[in-house]
């Protein structure tokens, strides 16, 4: 009960997060003694199974890591392999990749906003309960998501685990006439996206702020999606090739996902709020206007407001997709041959949940000799645990049920993708 000074909160299977994980909070003498975000989903050993495969295979193999953000895996893989082989794809190919990536952002963010996160703010246990009382809201979310789907199907070849991406470009580039119906859908989606920002801006957000160093890609002049330099709110700036010099991964006993920290600095945060804080000046005017109207300032350090940032990013992604379609000319050729050479290549892109880093070593025959993948959720684990520690400490007057509910919400702020990271949810609060 709320007056107890020793207690344990346990959620054995966290709901509305992707994959399998648990949370354990131990309170002793009225102070939070331990917080653990336990990722118990078994590791899938993707890095190991990539060894010995051809250098052309990572986009198709790593796309299978996640059903929500396969494009992110494909894009980071392509950049890394192409960097190893000394190939730089033409702008037209890069633009088509960015368009495909916009589709994934729209799909992933719409799913999280409407089906996973909004029920928390509106007091519903699930999207199903939300749909029973607010059918139109869920319809809007699904319609928005469908616009992202349409991009994935046209550019990616299919909505799940796209098959049209290859190292060096695309197997087939859509013709211009195929883009017209897509643009029509996106014009409708833009209104839905703006409505989403206005709707979410009316939610009540707990007064909570973190002081994590935030890390994201930046591409000056453009909101970072498909490429960039790694930058942090603490002043770091380095190329993806230097990622492993700055980011240290280590095993912790309670997680099958490696925890990451910045060398000599500690925990950090990646994801939509980091991206927004480092790149909000490069949002499109309409997205910037929507952010301002929703009360988002130059930075966002309240993780509960991440739903607003995602909504603004959907506005941006829809607009950006429309911009890319308007000027679209099919790349010819639609891919470059990428002959192998013995080298190491690095790639980083902005997955919906944050920076996704890949590194591959390739031999002269084009076989992969080592691979490393650092997904966003594993990078965020230490920061999520720190948030929970401070969040719980300020709310020990709540009873276990209320506190557990709010802690789960605090975790969902980060849209953790456990399958990607497991390399993880279930909550326990131990009050003794």
């Amino acid at each position: 009960m709320s007056h107890e000074t020793d207690r344990t909160l346990t959620v054995r299977a966290l709901a509305r997060v992707e994959g399998e994980g648990a949370m354990h909070v131990r309170v002793r003498g009225g102070a939070v003694e331990d917080v653990r975000l336990e990722i118990y989903e078994p590791p899938r050993f993707f890095e190991a199974l990539l060894r010995g495969r051809r250098h052309t295979e990572p986009p198709d193999i790593t796309a299978r890591i996640c059903g929500i953000c396969p494009v992110a895996y494909q894009m980071s893989a392509c950049l890394a392999i192409e960097a190893a082989c000394g190939i730089e794809v033409p702008d037209a190919v890069s633009d088509l990749r960015r368009l495909l990536y916009c589709g994934e952002w729209i799909e992933s963010h719409a799913l999280h906003i409407y089906l996973l996160h909004a029920p928390d703010f509106l007091g519903y246990a699930s999207a199903l309960d939300l749909a029973r009382e607010g059918r139109g809201l869920v319809e809007r979310g699904l319609a928005l998501k469908k616009a992202g789907n349409a991009i994935m199907e046209l550019v990616g070849g299919r909505a799940i685990h796209p098959v049209n991406v290859r190292v060096g470009g695309f197997y087939r580039a859509p013709v211009r006439t195929e883009m017209a119906p897509l643009a029509e859908k996106l014009h409708v989606a833009l209104d839905l996206a703006l409505d989403t920002v206005r709707w979410a801006s009316g939610f009540e957000f707990p007064d909570f702020h973190h002081d994590h160093e935030m890390l994201a890609l930046v591409t000056p002049g453009q909101y970072a999606i498909d490429r960039g330099t790694v930058a942090s709110t603490g002043g770091l700036s380095f190329a993806p090739a230097q990622f492993e010099d700055y980011v240290i991964e280590e095993q912790v006993p309670h997680s099958t996902a490696l925890h990451a920290r910045l060398a000599g600095r500690g925990r950090y945060l990646t994801g939509p709020t980091a991206r927004y804080t480092l790149s909000s000046q490069w949002l499109s005017p309409l997205a910037r206007q929507a952010a301002d109207a929703a009360g988002l300032g130059a930075e966002c350090r309240n993780p509960f407001r991440s739903i607003l940032v995602r909504a603004v990013e959907v506005v941006y992604a829809v607009e950006e997709a429309l911009r890319l379609i308007e000027r679209y000319e099919p790349p010819a050729p639609c891919y470059l041959e990428v002959p192998p050479r013995a080298a190491v290549g690095h790639g980083a892109t902005e997955a919906p949940r944050g920076v996704l880093f890949h590194r591959y070593a390739i031999d002269a025959d084009g076989l992969i000799t080592s691979a490393r993948i650092v997904p966003p959720t594993s990078q965020n684990q230490a920061s999520i645990e720190d948030d929970l520690r401070r969040f719980v400490a300020a709310r020990l007057d709540l009873d276990d049920q209320q506190l557990t509910w709010q802690c789960e919400q605090a975790i969902r702020n980060y849209d953790p993708c456990i399958s990607c990271s497991a390399h993880f949810l279930d909550l326990t609060v131990d009050r003794g």
Binding site: A15, R16, E18, L111, L128, I160, C417
Partner: protein, 161 residues
């Protein structure tokens, strides 16, 4: 694709699952077999054959406006032997809505209930389920589930005929 068919006349068969997780690939295996048969099989003429990873938005899009939707999925059931087949009633599945939701695994029961609330169920929905034994890593079905695939294919053909 689905949009090419007249609303209300379309029949869709959806294989639900992941072909890289052994018996979870039963649905996709049935679709592969149906695709091979479709060119010379009158009962499958005009039938949309599709795959789904279970994600609810895309699943609802696949069956919305259809005259008939048939889902083929592998299930875990410790009370019945691997390879055992069920034909599930939609009402029974709606009762299976469990409220436990992840971005990848809103349950089939929840998805059907969500579609019902949104008024986006097909006119008729049949769910064929097969009890799986091994949902671990790998592309091969277990012998028991592999043996059930031809029977599931025949069951689909009978339903859509």
């Amino acid at each position: 694709m689905t949009g090419q068919d007249s609303p209300g006349r379309r029949t869709v068969v959806v294989g639900v699952g992941n072909e890289f997780r052994r018996d979870d690939g039963a649905g996709p295996a049935v679709i592969a077999r149906l695709r091979a048969l479709q060119p010379g099989d009158d009962s499958l003429s005009g039938v949309t054959l599709a795959l789904s990873d279970g994600e609810p938005g895309r699943m609802i899009d696949l069956w919305e406006g259809a005259r008939l939707a048939v889902l083929v999925d592998a299930v875990q059931d410790i009370t019945m032997p691997p390879g055992h087949r069920y034909q599930l009633a939609v009402d029974a599945l709606a009762g299976a809505a469990d409220g436990v939701t992840s971005s990848h695994s809103i349950s089939l029961g929840d998805t059907i209930e969500l579609a019902r609330v949104l008024g986006r169920l097909p006119a008729r929905l049949a769910v064929l389920a097969v009890v799986g034994r091994d949902f671990g890593f790998g592309t091969e079905l277990t012998a028991e589930v592999a043996a059930a695939v031809p029977e599931l294919v025949e069951q689909v053909r009978q339903i859509v005929r």
